[in-house]
Symmetry: C2
């Protein structure tokens, strides 16, 4: 199994606090030693850091933890391998281009037999069931909409249906983005929290790190963080249910079913 971390914000925000908690779970407070990755959107493009070694031992992870990269959508993953060997090809997040947009994807869970599903346009570079599912979903979106529909709700609904279909093969908790929206689907375990004014303090569960959000925010900021398990012990995280899909834009849920 793996752990996921996502963020959607209405103003470019750094994720140093949350990422510091996640990194601990990559070999110290958690068993996810088989690689980690993080993608930070900036406009329609993204910046990515990844490594096939444990995040607690990774020089790059420690550098990123301290680097205040500000972004409106972030997707991160720490891996405990179950499908595909430990190597960079199999390290999440995965990305592809569709309609001149960068799509980024990370998955937690296992999908039995999904790799038998035929693919069309997009082909996996590595050997994980996760990347196969990502390619399959993008294939379906591309076939249904060779050009992007004017109403983005059509995509939200289609993605929800596709996630439900993939979910039948096992466990499919996932984060997905096209730079504008952050799509979150829960198969077994995901939770989220929206932070907005009045901001307070929070303490990480996985390390001795307390943050006072009032020092880092303005009263207009809205920031949602999604995680496999709550990252803080003194805030109220919402727990998602199986089959539930949320779409966030600028920190706010715009689709919730």
């Amino acid at each position: 199994m793996c752990e996921l971390l996502g963020m959607s914000a209405n103003t470019p925000t750094d994720i140093c606090f949350s990422f510091s908690g996640l990194v601990q779970r990559g070999g110290k407070t958690g068993p996810h030693r088989d690689g980690w990755g993080i993608a930070f959107y900036e406009g329609r493009a993204f910046r990515e850091f990844k490594d096939s070694q444990a995040s607690v031992k990774s020089d790059i992870a420690h550098f990123v933890k301290k680097l205040p990269i500000k972004s409106h959508v972030v997707i991160s993953h720490i891996r405990q391998a179950n499908s595909g060997k430990v190597c960079l090809e199999n390290t999440h997040p995965f990305s592809r281009e569709l309609w001149g947009r960068s799509w980024v994807f990370a998955h937690n869970g296992q999908l039995k037999g999904f790799k038998k599903k035929p693919l069309g346009f997009y082909k996996p570079i590595g050997s994980t069931d996760s990347e196969h599912a990502f390619c399959w979903i993008l294939d379906q979106v591309r076939s249904a909409y060779p050009e992007p529909p004017k109403n983005p709700r059509l995509i939200w609904k289609l993605l929800h249906d596709l996630c439900l279909e993939v979910d039948e093969y096992g466990i499919f908790n996932m984060l997905f983005s096209d730079s504008r929206f952050l799509y979150v689907y829960c198969s077994s375990k995901l939770c989220w929290i929206t932070r907005k004014a009045p901001f307070g303090k929070a303490r990480l569960k996985d390390s001795d790190f307390v943050i006072d959000f009032t020092e880092h925010t303005t009263s207009k900021d809205v920031v949602t963080v999604i995680s496999t398990e709550p990252l803080t012990g003194d805030e109220n995280w919402e727990t998602m249910k199986k089959g539930e899909m949320l779409v966030f834009q600028k920190g706010k849920a715009v689709y919730h079913k």
Copy 2:
């Protein structure tokens, strides 16, 4: 204009020495202040670092300069913008997937009117003529070979013909890779050097950095470095001619026309 840096090696090799020289040209010894990027292949995947600010001022560039990431194919670029504004979307290298392989591309030069060429499968995320040319080339390769041909020479020849066609629109010095081969096309300015046993010392032209390659290599290592201008002053770099294409595999030229 911009500057390019590439490497092909028969054993995973770090590029710290050459990249240290290039970084200086990104705002200090050269005027390329509008972003930089570097992609390091590891197997079929790659690791990428990029920034839309000057490399001499970039925290990420200084971190990468010291990080001994070992790779068999590296593509790097520093940008002086001429087509497309300064932002991450327009920062080289660009990448796409074809045949389950990661293709990475960086370009130096300008292409007048090329953005009028219609595209098919691949769409640019940013607004540069460079990314448009990259998408167009991959479209042609994909159309000619929906599946990869058994004989890679067919691709080398096709890529050479495509580069000659793009070159008619202006200046098109480029580096391109699919993880196995490093493709190098010269339109106006590119040079290269192959380092192998007996190794010696070299001094960077752009900073006070001397390396003794004998301390970092074995007698079997073969490493080729490609650059817009020679990075060292005390070695013999080969200068490429207009229309010339080189394909490197494991540090050695396998196609040269």
